[in-house]
Symmetry: C2
Subunit: 141 residues, 2 copies
DNA sequence: TGTTGACTTAAAGTTAACTTTAAGTGATAT
DNA sequence: ATATCACTTAAAGTTAACTTTAAGTCAACA
């Protein structure tokens, strides 16, 4: 790693590149989710591509509804994998299972919502055309 | 509707039947999400099958990640459908779209998580068998 | 008769994940 | 010289969705 060629970013650049608010970046750092953020001679934060990658990873996990403390745990295990292979395996396995359950519930509810869309569309037509209102069973069957 | 035959439930019975805490039931009522909850001579709440159905409906919407204020809006529109058919259609349509996006993100992240499970499983094998560690690309490809 | 248990209320507390505020430093632009 | 801008900190505020607490009423049981 050649120190002279490490690309760095100010907090403002990172907010633009990642879409994450500066206050959130500081918050993540306080939490220990963003580590080893160096400072310049004015005490301003200096981020590297590794930080950008970490921020991206955090966003991914968040998309999977993983709470920040578990995300932090994940990176802690990753940093010392030999000693935490069982921990990290358990974490990703149980998190995957939780995610599957959540997705299943959401898919079910999506079906319900689509039925509602059909039902209320039919009612709207009936109102517009002054025809008798359909029943739920008419639309869903 | 024969008043004499309307089945009713105490708050405790409702918590058992729905799995919803009594404090939550009172909270929903405060929010206006649970309406027309009558009282007995001791001021204790009396729930009916309609309330049970509503509580079930709320749980469904929550499974679809719909915030309580939108759920409340939905039932308000439903109670006066002729005057709010466009509102309710917009609500269920946009909510369905949001849900689809959320599901899509979660499915993507589920893939990632499953890749991680495979990757860390392979590393665990390598540790157990004292063989060289696989790379990410070895496992995913 | 007393105490236990189920209910009531209003208000305060909790958790997650931020966001905002207030006060201050230092570099740049007019 | 001054004002503006980007950054800093610690601490307080925000939102959603509850949960807990404290204080009280009422009925049933030993």
């Amino acid at each position: 790693m050649d120190i002279a060629t490490v690309k760095t970013y100010s907090i403002k650049e990172v907010t633009k590149l990642t879409g994450t608010a500066a206050s959130t970046l500081r918050y993540y750092e306080d939490l220990g989710l963003l580590e080893n953020v160096e400072r310049d001679h004015n005490d301003n934060r200096i981020y590297t591509d590794e930080h950008l990658a970490r921020i991206d990873g955090i966003k991914c996990f968040k998309d999977g509804a993983m709470p920040l403390d578990k995300i932090k745990e994940f990176y802690a295990y990753e940093a010392d994998l030999e000693n935490h292979i069982d921990d990290i395996l358990h974490l990703v396995t149980s998190q995957t299972e939780e995610l599957s359950e959540t997705i299943a519930k959401m898919l079910k509810q999506k079906e319900h919502m689509q039925q509602k869309v059909r039902f209320y569309s039919a009612i709207k037509s009936a109102i517009d055309n002054n025809t008798p209102w359909p029943t739920w069973d008419d639309c869903i069957k």
